[in-house]
Amino acid sequence: MFKEDQLKKVQQEKKKWVDDLSKILSETPERLPRFTTVSDLEIKGLYTPEDIKDLDYSREVSFPGVYPFTRGVQPSMYRGRLWTMRMFSGLGGPEETNQRFHYLLDHGETGLSIAFHYPTLMGYDSDSPNARGEIGKCGVAVDTLKDMEILFEGIPLDKVTTSMTINPPASILLAMYIVMAEKQGVSKKEIGGTIQNDMLKEFIAQKTFMLPPKPSLRIIVDTIEYCTKEVPRWNTISISGYHIREAGSTAVQELAFTLADGIAYVEAAMERGLDVDDFAPRLSFFFDSHIDFFEEIAKYRAARRIWAKVMRERFMAKKPRSWMLRFHTQTAGCSLTAQQPFNNVIRTAYEALAAVLGGTNSLHTNSLDETYAIPTEEAVTIALRTQQILAEETGVTNTIDPLAGSYFVEALTNQMEEKAWDYIHKIDEMGGMVKAIERGYPQMEIAEAAYKYQKQIDANEKVIVGVKKYVTDHPPITIWRMRPEIEERQLKRLQEVKQTRDNAKVKKCLGEIRKASQNGENLMPHIINAVREYTTIQEICDVWREVFGKYTDPGYF
């Protein structure tokens, strides 16, 4: 980046600066013994051209839309099109959530994102004993296609894209979406959206798991194979670091484990015989935006660069689209506090800014009351407005990747990349991510980091405003509560569906799913047939639990 004589001069001047500084510090020392990121990465007091002297701009940074995409995946970035404002929503039953979807779209949201309640996430129906106490609480209750039809009433599926945070039953929810669109007259070739469908990070962090890793991967590859041919605008996986981070990982672990998961999916799909350039362009990513501003920005920039190298050099992908890491971001739920909840608006705004300066393609901003419950309408509006102010008032969208060239940001980007490679190579040596998970490796690394961070908070080494420092009483805020009649309505509807559908057809469809599960045929067409007959999510998942066995938590701590 710099000429030899320039660097020499910088070195000499820096030496003088360090000497002067140490005189000052001998009288007034620095405030802290160590300055670290939230992930405990030590940060120097000053970065200079020396820190990036080996950085090759053309090879490592380059231009937006150009390999290795450090500066962003689109040539025009936000000057061409803003990120998608996609608020993760789901509350009570499909009626309440449909109303929330319309509310958000009317207020300027540009994409939908569904939060399902726990029973749906885990492959149980609302009438299962496992659903007791959980219906409609952490998201929307969906048992059958009927619920999806209500959920999307009045929403044109050819105009809006939808992201679904769903994992073990991802293929079933995708099938429901396809059939629902078909009923609206929108073909599966036209619909756009994402299923999370990332089981590896479930074993590592989010823990909504159902089947063991191998059959889980097989169903994922079925969806990739099917969508590549039949649903070309669908993002088949959202390879997620968010939950890894929320479980307590460091930024580097989030980055490395996510990309290592991505590598495992690419390998699995290639083993099926798919051409990497056919499916790789539809892989998408999802990261956290935690409170440490620069560390996050460096993480996103490093993520794009590493993935581009992985796809081109390791998997020999030829299409530039296969090299691109496109990602959604959610601000960090775990950074928010129950104490003085209005402070969460500020935290979320900084985190959203980091995501945007890091070139996110889509963003969810948390609401101030989300440490307590699903957000109220008022709270979610402030969260959405936070994005709109960022996009349309602050001017940060005027120029692309404005922090490129910062000695600090470039050096930190390099550092994140290096440390992530160390992890990726270690996982390679273990035989890949599935093997690493079976050994409990990423799980223990995260548990270790989470415990260390908690100790640092307890010891006041890390400050969270309003929790142990600047403590004041705050009046309670109004929070959203699940109304009991929603549960009754959901159970009644499920019962009605089961009585009025053609149960002989349902039985036949379930038999087909069982057969395909056993003989290895692609499951997607059979799942689509089944959901069209209003087969429930649990009915399908029960077949899988029988055929493949259930995964239970090894309980590492």
Partner: protein, 139 residues
């Protein structure tokens, strides 16, 4: 004195994750914190029904059960665990918990017999101290 203490049975705690909730960061941190404080800790792992938790508590002969819930299912799960303990004649096992529990629910849950609820902001040390003061090894 030191001699006497070392002869005494250690406090045994079951840390449990009931329901479908997958948020186990807090449960694992507290399990580890308790272990580091010298308690004997059994962790159930995720996705346990109240029936499984009570069975594990009895089988492991624990002195206390710490339930971690962040999914909003606390108003069903805590009373259910307490009732099952009573039915099994094991209601001398102290039940406490932590997680996302709105203030107005805390009083109601304490009324059903939950001895303490630790909400966000609690340090490991505070929880350890409470256990030492409120849970004694059963004979």
């Amino acid at each position: 004195m030191a001699m006497e203490e070392s002869m005494e049975r250690k406090i045994r705690i079951l840390i449990a994750k009931p329901g479908l909730d997958g948020h186990d960061r807090g449960a694992k941190i507290i399990a580890r914190g308790f272990r580091d404080a010298g308690f004997e800790v059994v962790y159930t792992g995720l996705h346990q029904t109240p029936e499984q938790i009570v069975a594990a508590a009895i089988q492991e002969d624990v002195d206390g059960i710490g339930l971690s819930i962040l999914s909003g299912a606390h108003d069903y799960i805590f009373p259910q665990v307490i009732q099952l303990l009573r039915e099994k004649g094991a209601d001398d096992i102290v039940v406490f918990g932590g997680g996302i529990i709105p203030e107005e629910d805390i009083l109601a849950l304490k009324g059903t017999g939950v001895k303490a609820l630790f909400v966000p902001g609690t340090t490991i040390e505070e929880a350890v101290k409470w256990v030492r003061e409120n849970i004694k090894p059963r004979k």
